[in-house]
Symmetry: C2
Subunit: 143 residues, 2 copies
């Protein structure tokens, strides 16, 4: 899995004439080793731990490459930070966001996706992407 993603990125890099650098490698390693929804800041700190002297700018720039390469996806939650999640081919999930503990629970629901397609069709709208976020309290926080 991780190897596959590295390979995917290498292919992308090659096709774009991008260079392979120490920084990109370690940012990719760290990204792949994280759980879902890392903020740039978190990623930056982890990368710097194993590789001091890497700048934030590089992390920002590299994450955009990952998005372009189809490895990562931007997730904007209500906390003023851009987060990135892993892209798993053919899968789409949405989020339950706990405003108590900031936990994020993922879910998938085909019926909702289908309804969205219908709605879009009804408006002559061409869907590129969508996001559904449900905010509230998780089972641990609601008590």
């Amino acid at each position: 899995m991780i190897q596959k993603k590295k390979h995917a990125f290498n292919l992308f890099a090659a096709s774009k004439g991008l260079r392979s650098t120490r920084q990109r490698d370690s940012i990719l390693d760290v990204f792949l080793s994280t759980r879902q929804h890392v903020s740039v800041e978190e990623l930056y700190l982890k990368v710097k731990a194993g590789n001091p002297g890497v700048g934030q700018a590089t992390v920002y720039r590299t994450l955009k490459l990952f998005v372009e390469a189809g490895l990562a996806r931007e997730v904007l939650l209500h906390d003023g930070q851009t987060r990135y999640e892993h892209v798993v081919a053919g899968e789409h999930h949405d989020h339950l966001v706990c405003t108590g503990c900031n936990a994020i629970i993922e879910f998938e629901n085909e019926t909702i996706e289908k309804l969205q397609d219908e709605i879009a069709a009804r408006h002559g709208f061409l869907i590129r992407s969508h996001k559904l976020e449900i905010y509230g309290l998780c089972s641990a926080c609601k008590n």
Copy 2:
């Protein structure tokens, strides 16, 4: 309708010991006269047109009051600006966002809402709010 909202804000203001000021009145007027999803900047410009010398900060501060008073709701789309929409009691709608012309089409779908409730229940999650945004191209832009 507009009168009702003004009244609602007055009640809120009174209950909080807030003062009634020229600025708040005109920001409320302008907000109520706008269509959905105004950005702070848009609102600020319109307010200033009818009432020069009103500062942005006041617009920001006042919009937060409207949210607190239940008249407005923050909407964060993918354009780096906070927008506000009108709250209509008991109604919830979601958005089709055209990335071509920035048009926003609203829709409502009860089945989706129900499915969300089911999903939340399954995870022991207490829903406070949610948002569903579908990004793509509207009928005019997709050609």
